[in-house]
């Protein structure tokens, strides 16, 4: 009987240890189930998906960056051009550095080419919405998030987005009546 008990004990301990391992095995199992069934996949959740993408055409985007000559900043896009479907959510980045030895507040003004594309260029997030303060020697990467409206004329194949940074302090002194530069 004692021998039988020892045998049963061994079996039950193996089961116990196996189930302890099973608890941890549930972790990869859980993620696999979520992946296979397509649930709980964070950013790609089906509810948040954009269904308005016009996949029948591609538009070339070109990015351009300038600074006003009075502003001692270096300013450039991180990518020169991009091909996107209208309706697609796009994020691009620009880099700006203050090469002077004092802090400066600047603000960027966008312009579009051709001009008739401007109304279809829907920016969701842009560094041009607010004034940017850069400390002496500071450099910063800034995002622009936008959607090209699928209603944009079909004969527009290339859109250029061009930003120009202005020194906000200088501007303010020059024309005291205006509070902000136009944006958007």
């Amino acid at each position: 009987m004692a021998l039988g008990n020892a045998k049963t004990l061994t079996k039950l301990i193996v089961v116990t240890l196996g189930m302890f391992g099973f608890g941890f095995a549930l972790v990869p199992f859980y993620y696999k189930i979520c992946e296979v069934t397509g649930i709980n996949s964070g950013a790609e959740q089906s509810l948040a998906k954009n269904t308005q993408v016009d996949e029948s055409r591609l538009v070339t985007l070109e990015f351009d960056a300038n600074t006003n000559e009075a502003l001692p900043w270096r300013f450039k896009p991180m990518q020169r051009s991009l091909k996107v479907h209208p309706g697609q959510l796009v994020q691009v980045e620009y880099e700006v550095s203050n090469i002077s030895d004092h802090p400066i507040v600047g603000q960027a003004v966008p312009s579009y080419g051709p001009a008739r594309a401007a109304g279809f260029f829907k920016k969701i997030e842009c560094f041009c919405f607010t004034p940017q303060t850069l400390a002496a020697g500071e450099s910063r990467r800034m995002p622009v998030m936008f959607v090209l409206d699928p209603d944009m004329d079909r004969d527009v194949h290339t859109v250029t987005l061009s930003y120009t940074f202005f020194d906000l302090e200088a501007k303010k002194q020059a024309s005291d009546g205006r509070k902000t530069v136009p944006n958007g």
Binding site: M1, G4, N5, V15, F20, G23, L26
Partner: protein, 525 residues
Amino acid sequence: MSDAAHAHDDHGHGHPTGIMRWLTTTNHKDIGSLYLWFALIMLFAAGSMALLIRAELFQPGLQLTNPDFFNQLTTMHGLIMIFGVIMPAFSGFANWQVPLMLGAPDMAFPRMNNWAFWLLPMAGLMLMASFFLPGGAVAGGWTMYPPLFIQGGISYDLTILAVHIMGLSSIMGSINIITTILNMRAPGITLMKMPLFVWTWLITAYLLIATMPVLAGAVTMLLTDRNFGTHFFNAAGGGDPVMFQHIFWFFAHPEVYILILPAFGIVSQIIPTFARKPLFGYASMVYATASIAILSFIVWAHHMFTVGMPAAAQLFFMFSTMLIAVPTGVKVFNWVATMWKGSMTFETPMLFAIAFVCLFTIGGFSGLVLAIAPVDIQLHDTYYVVAHFHYVLVSGALFAIFAGIYYWLPKWTGHMYSETLGKWHFWLSVIGMNIVFFPMHFLGLAGMPRRIPDYALQFTEFNQIATVGAFIFGFSQLLFLAVILKTIKGGVKATDRVWEGAEGLEWTLPSPAPYHTFETAPVVK
């Protein structure tokens, strides 16, 4: 080894006395009593917390506690009642009764049995001590959900450790019980001749060794998330808090059957005795118990319908949950059929058993209501849920424990308990219990959330009724303590059979049962 064997053979000579007798005992009856006393002490500890909770909820606003302490009370009440009262009490019954019912001399591993018990008071002490640590005891709910449980202070680590220890204790206890049942039955007791209490405990013990290690894994992950920089559940590090709920309820749904199956077993012993008829549908009872145990592994997500699940998953968990009502219904009908045309008498154990059948069924039905996913989304985390699980755990598990104590106490002590006091205890408990928990159904349907120290004015009356009931129910348990102490001290001498209709090996022994029994196995026809 030879010393242990020697001490066993010559009891009364060279036995440690006083505290050392209890610390070193390997006797299944001693250990059974220790489990039951531990459960009783913890019942009063966690019950006092419940009374403090009810006192705070007597009126809206904050009177006695601050919200944080209130949350500590609800959390600790739940943890202690589950791991410190119901589970140890059932282990106590198993230790006393399984060897007696099977004609075995003791449990299979007496030393492991001693260790399994003595781990429990350590874990209990750690839990109680956490009230005095900086920040107080854990306040994140007994379900230990992250992110709260990976954010709290030192007492959270202590509680996780206590859960590890309690889990280890019940795994050792279960291994012992399974081995005893499989290997140490007297000749002639086949599996399908075992008393139903032994059957339910065999299945419970299997559930325990299958799920306790999963809980141990889950709380280990909590511990490493807290202290060792892992990110199982920490969303900031790419983990998923909902995954904890899945792993936790994979353990905790079988756990609720761990808390009720031995109760089914006790009631299945008592009803035939006082109906003076054999149990109706013995084989179907065994198969129903096994089906409940198997189904319990595929229903867990009904605890978390609101986390955001695909409709297909909700439907699966909803229907599989409802399926459990079938074997449970088989059991209820079998108990009723056992009583049908029986020569019934209504001693205290029978009264508690009948109350169990009626009130547990109410709890079962409110469980069915909650199983309906669209309804559950409305009732999730309301007092309806509180009413539901107290009907199955208080008038279910706890009443079965009371019934079992009254039923076997004469065999254990050799004295009859006072039937008058027992009946007082029964009526006060059953009335008090219904006054506490029945109004909670209405509160839940009206939308009162659980785990809150303050509530909107319109809930006041039902809360006041519940609090009055709680104090009746709580203080009538002092009567229970009095009955037990009185019976241990003396009383009418119990006969060997104790109850006219009692069947089974334990009733062939003298009352009180001698310290060593069945040293030569009885022969069962």
